[in-house]
């Protein structure tokens, strides 16, 4: 069984790429697009779960491409860490694609292909143990991302997409330069062959160039500014997909390199600690000042990256476990919150806190999903955020980093504050009368395929709004105007809420199953604290 799975490891990359390629020639509106797209993502999830089960006991699955001897070949490795992250990445992809189908975005040309190629690239980046191959897979992830931005940006807004492409290209080029330098010093870019090479200053600096490039991709302070601007005008579902995949793959690689190459070397880990602490504080502070829901959430995401990196900076078994738990939690909850923001933006045409209001009484399901995800992100029990934050704080206190532990708690309070702002303004606030007009304008823009922000004739919008009000029938009984129980008019369609509900449900599940999650993460971190098994398996010893 294990032998067969080892042989099939490259399929995690090959199959999505191949199917994505085939789907390019399937006609645009053919049902096969969505069926095959969803089917392959689910198959990827299934495969990832099989990997997780097989590697749970510490087994390391290795496939040397073309069966070259270890150390020379390009190795594909699945251990408990990469399998766990692959499972969560597959879940996020499935649910984001589900949202794209529900919102009709999957009808744009080649979306299924692009999502599949992206998923294939992610699988490759998580499974490969060769740094140059990793660069290739990062590019494989990025190219379809550019396509997704091109097809699904908020109609016509390309400035942010250009920013995304240039920043990522710069980071990739830097990463490639780092790989070249590592090769110059060590004569190999096989991660296992580089084990412990961080003791050599030249290698350490070359590797640090790679880590710097990954820091840009993971949006770590002080190179975090591009994220909110670039993701802010992508299609919301795409932002959710990217936030679950791109930044987290970069963080995954930081974990991997820190453990294999640096073996938790003190000075480097202190540097990561400083950067991580600044990232989480800056992210949370900037989020407080944002006026739109999506940038606010995206800066929360920056802050979360800091939390995850604290885990690797501590480099104790508890710290790594906590960091991995936080990574899993963050991928799920951030996806959920961004999909909630998507549903709001795509219905009301605006994510501004001061324009959309009164969702609490009108959208009970969306409100439930938001409350769960927001409390989970802030770290309240019984959701996954509590388990994750408790673990990180405890690990930092155990490692003697009391200041960091205190900072984590303060930052959590700041996060709660900025999410309370969303709650107070968008969900609990009094519904303005012009919200209906806003939603009507957005419906007209979607129908006519106009640019976002295109000006709609006032009368047309008013007529559309009045029509929506009538469609939902007269109010029950006599209601004063502005009555919160007046449920006529625009509602967020249920199909847009379901994906967010699924993810927030998962967050509840992970909260109650915290013991299980911690156990998974403990197994995952064991391959990071002791890399001898990994190195031995990859080198074929």
């Amino acid at each position: 069984m294990i032998g067969i799975v080892e042989l099939l490891l490259p399929l995690f990359v090959g199959a999505p790429l191949l199917l994505g390629g085939i789907l390019f020639v399937v006609p645009r509106h053919h049902p096969l697009q969505l069926i095959m797209g969803m089917g392959s993502l689910l198959a990827l999830l299934g495969g990832a779960i099989v990997l997780l089960i097989l590697t749970f006991d510490g087994t390391i699955l290795v496939h040397q491409i073309a069966l070259w001897p270890g150390g020379i070949s390009i190795p594909f490795v699945a251990d408990s860490f990469s399998s766990l992250i692959l499972v969560v990445a597959a879940i996020v992809s499935v649910i984001s694609f589900h949202y794209m189908i529900a919102s009709g975005e999957a009808q744009s040309p080649s979306i299924a292909s692009l999502v599949l190629i992206l998923a294939g690239g992610v699988a490759g980046a998580l499974l490969t143990a060769d740094l140059f191959n990793l660069f290739v897979f990062i590019e494989v992830m990025l190219l379809p991302s550019y396509g997704l931005l091109l097809f699904l940006s908020r109609r016509g807004d390309m400035a942010a997409s250009r920013l995304y492409v240039t920043v990522n290209l710069l980071a990739s080029t830097l990463f490639l330069a780092g790989v070249g330098l590592i090769y110059a010093v060590q004569g190999t870019v096989n991660l296992a062959a580089l084990a412990g090479a961080g003791d050599d200053p030249a290698t350490a600096i070359a590797t640090a160039v790679c880590l710097g490039a990954l820091a840009v991709k993971a949006s770590v302070f002080p190179v975090h500014g591009w994220l909110a601007r670039a993701y802010g005008s992508a299609s919301p579902a795409v932002a959710a997909l990217f936030s679950g995949l791109h930044t987290k793959v970069a963080v995954y690689v930081v974990y991997r390199i820190s453990s294999v190459v640096f073996e938790g070397d003190g000075a480097w880990m202190t540097a990561i600690m400083v950067v991580a602490a600044l990232t989480l504080a800056v992210g949370a502070l900037v989020a407080l000042g944002e006026r739109e829901i999506r940038p606010l959430l995206l800066f929360q995401m920056v802050s979360g990256i800091g939390f995850i990196l604290i885990g690797v900076a501590l480099f104790t078994p508890e710290g790594l476990t906590a960091g991995i738990v936080y990574m899993v939690h963050h991928m799920v909850v951030m996806g959920s919150l961004l999909l909630i923001a998507s549903a709001i933006e795509q219905t009301y045409g605006s994510g501004r806190l001061d324009r959309v209001a009164g969702l609490r009484t009108r959208e009970p399901l969306l409100t439930a999903a938001f409350v769960i995800s927001a409390l989970s992100l802030a770290g309240l029990p019984p959701f996954s955020g509590f388990v994750a934050k408790y673990a990180v704080v405890l690990a930092s206190a155990d490692a003697g980093q009391v200041l960091i532990a205190g900072l984590l708690i303060i930052v959590s309070l700041l996060s709660l504050m900025s999410l309370m702002r969303v709650w107070a303004d968008m969900f609990n606030g009094k519904r303005h009368t012009d919200v209906e007009v806003l939603a009507a304008e957005e419906r007209i823009r979607t129908r006519e395929g106009l640019f976002d922000g295109a000006v709609i004739d006032t009368d047309t919008a008013a007529a559309e709004a009045a029509q929506a009000l009538e469609q939902h029938g007269p109010p029950r009984g006599v209601l004063a105007s502005g009555d919160p129980h007046d449920h006529r008019g625009t509602r967020i369609p249920l199909r847009l809420v379901i994906p967010a509900l699924m993810l927030s449900g998962l967050s509840v599940g992970l909260g109650f199953g915290g013991e299980f999650l911690l156990q998974l993460a403990e197994h995952a971190s064991s391959v990071l604290t002791d890399t001898s098994g990994y190195v031995g398996a990859v080198m074929g010893q």
Binding site: M158, R162, L169, A177
Partner: protein, 134 residues
């Protein structure tokens, strides 16, 4: 030494161009930057102490094929991405804020042919007024 100098010059020129306004210059900047990195990888193979793999006979001094394979891959990827970047330069609404702010565009930007290409593809009132001003 000449390799190191070329890498330095290419990287400096690339960084300079990437920091310019105007998407076309940024694209050219990235082309130069990737060239610099490709040369860096070639240099990583130890070109100064190795010879051509043929005609010599001493295989221990033969050129290292691995960096060349790396560079080949990197060139293909860079080429694909340059095409994507060029696409980003021309599609979408005229919202490219990487160009000069209000007022007449500088002469060099007109030379890019970017504005002309855009005007051909998208007759836009904003553009026309800009043309008249010029």
């Amino acid at each position: 030494m000449s390799l190191a100098l070329s890498i330095g010059v290419l990287a400096a020129a690339g960084v300079f161009l990437v920091l310019q306004r105007g998407m076309i210059r940024i694209i050219l900047g990235f082309v130069l930057l990737t060239h610099a990195v490709n040369l860096l990888i070639i240099a990583a193979g130890g070109v100064s102490r190795r010879d051509a793999p043929f005609f010599g006979g001493d295989t221990s001094q033969a050129a290292d094929p691995l960096p060349q394979a790396f560079v080949l891959t990197a060139i293909v990827i860079a080429f694909a991405i340059t095409v994507v970047l060029a696409t980003f330069a021309v599609v979408g609404r005229r919202d490219d804020d990487t160009e000069a702010d209000n007022g007449a565009p500088s002469q060099s930007e007109v030379d890019d042919g970017e504005l002309d290409a855009l005007r051909d593809s998208e007759p836009d009132s904003e553009l026309e007024s800009e043309g008249e001003r010029r």
